[in-house]
């Protein structure tokens, strides 16, 4: 075991090199390859190591440009009655529809929600339930959240939409200093537990700097709120209904790349998926893979790839709730597998993977057989796809190769 194997820059370089090779084969653009290499060099000041071909799958998936993953529909279960084919935004609409129908105090508001919202999540609801219940607000995020808190304090069910998670920061104070602390600071005299904040989240391909961010870690530092991210339509409806029913203010981040790309058979009737419970999607014995939202689909593919190329059996965990998160399920899995890889789109430094990693290290130290690996956003920030930014390409197209490389290199020291 060499010391360098613990250095993050080493593995970063490896992964970047692997990525660069892949791009070489797929993109066929000399300019962009040069860019990738120079980016790696200038950023890390290191020469990429050679990667053995066995770690880089020569996949038939080379042509994937638009999406860097394949959405896997949830297995159909008739537990909750009749089902309908819905994509993610339709399943959100369905949850909102159920809520407005059953709770006369419920209101839905935000920028452009009255006509259906820019992502179509509220289509038809104003006409069905009235313009006092589904309405536009002025363009002001701190106003939207503040207004929602007040509604909830006065006993109404408030469902606020922030048009993009990237624009939630004007409301940061209202969320962190107000919503999160309302119950605590008043000694439980007042609370805004009836508030749910929805926001489209995560990368979408052409989203660039300000339509792609995953800001969950900023909120994970804040006791008093819940942060929830679904991986598909079935979870979106069940978790959103849980957030709405939950007696604590919740932030519900919706992976916007899945709004149309993800289609499930979704129950028409209301149902809830419990918060603060991770879901083990695939059992395995050698390594635990943890992700949430879009990245769950990437780690599912990684699990298949790792099995096929490396002979490694992966346990796949969808965390679902970021705060308060399900330490038990994750730790139980790591105790079994002895290895952990966490992946998220947001930048690695201070990302939520750091919190998971640190907790698992505290709880499962003696079970760990390799350092915990985090494969997360490495860019300083997004740049426009149209400027052919190498980092975004790497993140969008190559994540599963990076992850598999990480499993080989860091968790199993394969060369």
């Amino acid at each position: 075991m060499s010391l360098t194997s613990f250095s993050p820059s080493w593995s970063d370089t490896t992964a970047m090199a692997a990525a660069a090779r892949f791009l070489l084969r797929t993109a066929g653009s000399k300019a962009s390859i040069t860019n990738v290499n120079s980016c790696v060099h200038s950023k890390l000041g290191l020469t990429p190591l050679r990667v053995s071909p066995s770690c880089i799958p020569h996949a038939k998936t080379q042509k994937r440009h638009a999406a860097h993953f394949t959405f896997q529909p949830d297995p159909v279960s008739t537990k909750y009655g009749p089902m309908q084919k819905m994509n993610l935004f339709q399943s959100v609409t369905s949850a909102l529809d159920n809520t407005l129908a059953s709770d006369p105090t419920a209101v839905i508001f935000g920028e452009d929600v009255a006509f259906g919202g820019v992502f179509r999540c509220t289509v038809g609801l104003r006409d069905k339930y009235g313009k006092d219940r589904v309405f536009n607000t002025p363009l002001c995020e701190q106003g939207i959240v503040g207004f929602g808190i007040g509604l909830a304090v006065a006993g109404a069910t408030a469902i606020a939409e922030i048009q993009f998670a990237d624009y939630i920061f004007p409301a940061f104070d209202q969320i962190v200093n107000e919503a999160a602390k309302y119950r605590y600071r008043s000694g439980n005299l007042f609370d805004c537990g009836n508030l749910t904040i929805r926001a489209p989240w995560g990368c979408v391909g052409h989203g660039s700097l300000y339509h792609s961010q995953s800001p969950e870690a900023f909120f994970a530092h804040c006791p008093g709120i819940k942060v929830v991210i679904p991986r598909g339509p079935v979870q979106a409806k069940g978790l959103l209904l849980s957030c709405i029913a939950d007696k604590n203010p919740c932030i519900f981040f919706e992976p916007k790349i899945l709004y149309r790309a993800a289609v499930d058979q979704v129950p028409v009737e209301p149902y809830q998926i419990p918060l603060s419970q991770a879901e083990v999607l695939q059992e395995g014995s050698d390594v635990t893979l943890v992700a949430w939202g879009t990245q769950v689909h990437v780690i599912r593919e990684v699990a298949a790839m790792a099995q096929e190329k490396l002979g490694v059996s992966c346990e796949v965990v969808d965390l679902q709730t970021i705060l308060p998160w399900d330490t038990e399920t994750v730790c139980k899995s790591v105790v079994k597998t002895g290895r952990l890889l966490i992946s998220h789109e947001a930048p690695v430094t201070g990302g939520f993977a750091a919190e998971i990693s640190s907790t698992v290290q505290e709880e499962c130290f003696l079970n760990l057989e390799a350092p915990i690996a985090r494969v997360c956003g490495r860019r300083t920030s997004w740049t426009s796809e149209f400027s052919i930014s190498p980092p975004i390409r790497l993140n969008l197209i190559l994540s599963q190769y990076m992850l598999t490389t990480e499993i080989a290199r860091r968790l199993f020291r394969m060369h």
Partner: protein
Amino acid sequence: MQSIYFNKITKGVRLVKRTDLKIKMAAIGGLRRLCKISFNAVCQNNRLKASRLCQYRAFRVNGILHQQPFDSPTEKPQFPGASADFVDHLEFIQPNVISGIPVYRVMDRQGQIINPSEDPQIPKEEVLNFYQKMTLLNTMDRILYESQRQGRISFYMTNYGEEGTHIGSAAALDPNDLVFGQYREAGVLMYRGFPLDLFMAQCYANADDLGKGRQMPVHYGSRDLNFVTISSPLATQIPQAAGAAYAMKRENSNRAVICYFGEGAASEGDAHAGFNFAATLECPIIFFCRNNGYAISTPTNEQYRGDGIAARGPGYGMLSIRVDGNDVFAVYNATKEARRRAIAENQPFLIEAMTYRIGHHSTSDDSSAYRSVDEVNYWDKQDHPISRLRHYMTARGWWGEDEERAWRKQSRKLVMEAFEKAERRLKPRPELLFSDVYQEMPTSLEKQKESLWRHLQQYKEHYPLDLYDK
């Protein structure tokens, strides 16, 4: 994915996205023009498309608002964002359209009713109640201020000079109306009947504090009295109050919301958010600004350049008034009428009560560093809301030296009793550190609670546990 419904929706999304992009590009186009960079036909084209889009949007908006029909032959501007006439001479609007918003008052400085038709004719008993609440607040302030000076409580903020704004407005409300305050409105809570014991319990953060000892002194709250617990971040309560008012409008419960804030807090973005939301969403709310001349050390002439806070009302499409905050009847009249109309017409009102902060900002402040003793003395001696009301009562023979002497003695005794009781009381149970973070206790917090508990058991001798409630 193949369903017709889906395809329609998809088209909708594409349309929105494309138009969004066009607007952005048009904006960039504008920027470049500003920078005097020659521009090409592509952007021209985009501008054209963007303007067509505006028409489309305008049509939708107008459809809702029932503005001018599009084929109207009149020479009126058709812009969706404004309705007025064209002019053919260049003229900027003056910031002060009228020369200073007038200050409404009922009494002069000697407590004489100026215009009898404005006399609210409040019965003697209620006027005496006003006076007793204003002076009791003053007495409580003195004792708590002193107790902080002696190191008995950690912090305090007095209400000196602003008693008229508190009592006048509180009296004009219905007890069911919800109050969102800043921190210098203890008189509102006192008027509603919050007992001295609970004021003291909060300042001492003892086991009787309804807030469980979690906040600094003066952060009161009472569910029973519809007074939302105070929080330190300024102006955050303003959009919240608008939201609560919207909920009340939907309930049809004949309740209104009042939201207090200082003229300093009115500079925060949240104040703008709250005003604009309340106006556009037609909320039955009274925004009550206490303009007391200072935000800590910052005087109003460094806080804003317009005509105070009331002048902002028209900008939001909101009815506004400026009142003499040291005239308890003027405050009462203005609040009463604003409340009546807010509920009847579902719209917000803005009241700017002019007053003066006679005390230091807080016990952490020494205001002699930024204002003169003469200035403070003027307000304390010549234009004080308590003396003005006393003049009024004296003139009617409702209150004399004897009553004053007896009441002073009695009120001081009441405050001292509550004070001593609060000081003797134990502190809240240590476990209360962990409850109410969430409605339920998450496992992680449960673990932290147990670990603190184990630690306290093991090292009891190092902690003053006997001061805490069990």
